[in-house]
Symmetry: C2
Subunit: 353 residues, 2 copies
Amino acid sequence: MNTVYSINEVSMTFDLRSDLREITSEYDEKKIFLIFEANTWTHCWPLIKDFRPVPESNILILEPGEENKSIQQVIAAWDGLGKAGADRSSLVINIGGGMLTDLGGFAASTFKRGVAFINIPTTVLAMVDASTGGKTGVNFRGLKNEIGVIRQPKHVFLYLPFLRTLDRHNLLSGYAEMLKAGLIADQELWNRLKIFNLDGYDEKEFGRLIWRCVEIKKEIVTADPEEHGIRKALNFGHTIGHAIESESLRSGDPLAHGYAVAYGMIAEAALSSNLLGLTAGAVSEICQTITHLYGNPPAIIKDQEIMLGWMKFDKKNRDNHIIFTLLEEIGKNRVNLEAGEEEIRKVLVNVSL
Amino acid sequence: MNTVYSINEVSMTFDLRSDLREITSEYDEKKIFLIFEANTWTHCWPLIKDFRPVPESNILILEPGEENKSIQQVIAAWDGLGKAGADRSSLVINIGGGMLTDLGGFAASTFKRGVAFINIPTTVLAMVDASTGGKTGVNFRGLKNEIGVIRQPKHVFLYLPFLRTLDRHNLLSGYAEMLKAGLIADQELWNRLKIFNLDGYDEKEFGRLIWRCVEIKKEIVTADPEEHGIRKALNFGHTIGHAIESESLRSGDPLAHGYAVAYGMIAEAALSSNLLGLTAGAVSEICQTITHLYGNPPAIIKDQEIMLGWMKFDKKNRDNHIIFTLLEEIGKNRVNLEAGEEEIRKVLVNVSL
């Protein structure tokens, strides 16, 4: 393999085409199925096209976009796999952003009670977050990832050249999860991320930073794959972030996941200060870094009733209490913290000023 | 617990109501969700109704019948769970035949990426087969159990009084899987089943026979939960049986699963004789026992092209070869046997004479 870095089944490669040829060598090409979204079909497939002569009928192209992360599109994927003759010994390769790897992973995990799949994330967000860890799923009744299973991919390949066609908005959406990795687990990473220049970035340094985030996630997920305890560290920024994201989706003006998490982190840093004594200096550093990159939080965050309504629906809750992962300091988190409605209202007001 | 027999998470009880009260004691009653089919709602719910004061809005009643073992009905179940406020710490209790425990198990395993579930099978078939072993799922594109996951229930309760309202046709459908258990693994069990009288049966002896079948299944499934090897023993009669069942469903005159498997076992006993030298005496004993109970195989089995067409779609296949589990002798099976089309045609012709 042409590996730059690797841990277990995840590797960063400088020659994806030949690595794919190698890892699929045990499969007849008729048994290999590729799932793309329209964008990755256009931009990524040409770069790896001739890795194996996979029949064209084995290629499925799905609709992109968070609004298409639906059970209807899973049904379309099952249908496509069935009609093209996939069986339990087949291999599914998901090539796309987090929507696609989540949805394709769920389709593969449930088709004939589970076929093997490889994830090839093509966005920063999918590289550092969605494609590893085994969470698969789709949105349902307007709730994010409401339906899914936890199942580990056979392999995950990170290939930096896929990021070259992404615009700044897309890069930033993934960068928020990178900032989160630093905040929950590694102050030095946070310090490097704060000063990294995303415009005309250095691909080698970006690769190193991305890889450090993957290491952090892998470590946490390996210790707690089913999210009983420490895996919840990854939820920092996500309780309020998911509420922002859900409401923006409902209102017809969907915010990218990373932006919602970024604003969620501003609010949850404030909550960390109130509940765990995170210093004012740290709160201000987090707030400034994020606001500089993402601008000010959207107006919807001001509607406390709506925000609280979404938070009460969160999968992370138990027994109707709203549960947070917060920061004790930069690089150190605490999970399973309950906050009262008054505490939450207070930070929502402050953040939206 | 009021246990007659138990292995791991499966138990046969003589007081289901109080056992349910005990096993759910760690859950608030608002967190307990019950899924019935219309029949079990009418006949079984009254017998256990007051085990806990579960809110009425936590009870879902699904449409019965193999034709409703569909992803649409899974969506209805997800919707019902979501609207009633189920969360990841909830408990789902599935009460019904194999259709219901398979479907309810799949809905629970995928709702919020998996909530715990208990199966309470109410038919012989579900007791000896569907409710244990962790296979969940629904039919799709006319194919049996095409979509699903493997996930173990938290507990399975067998309660013989639920069988008292079943008619002979329903009892026989489950009895076929019991005969199969004897054929693949226990000649003495087969001998007892051959002479057991299903009309006005002795409930204690029936309980012992059912329990022996559960033991056989548990032993096999524990050794190979993901069906890589010896679990395939359970597929005896099912390769041809599934083809019969699928075609009968398509033709609008659906045959009960057990009947299809019973006829499948007649055909696969003949195949066992041709490929593994199962004695003519054993073939005749199997054929007579099954024909005596189930009558002659249906005419559709004569259409070799249609039968072969369905077999080629079977989940159990690899690389387009049709795979069988066959008998070396009564009580002894061999898995992963490939039969050529000519061999299969030959036994289809003979069986349908």
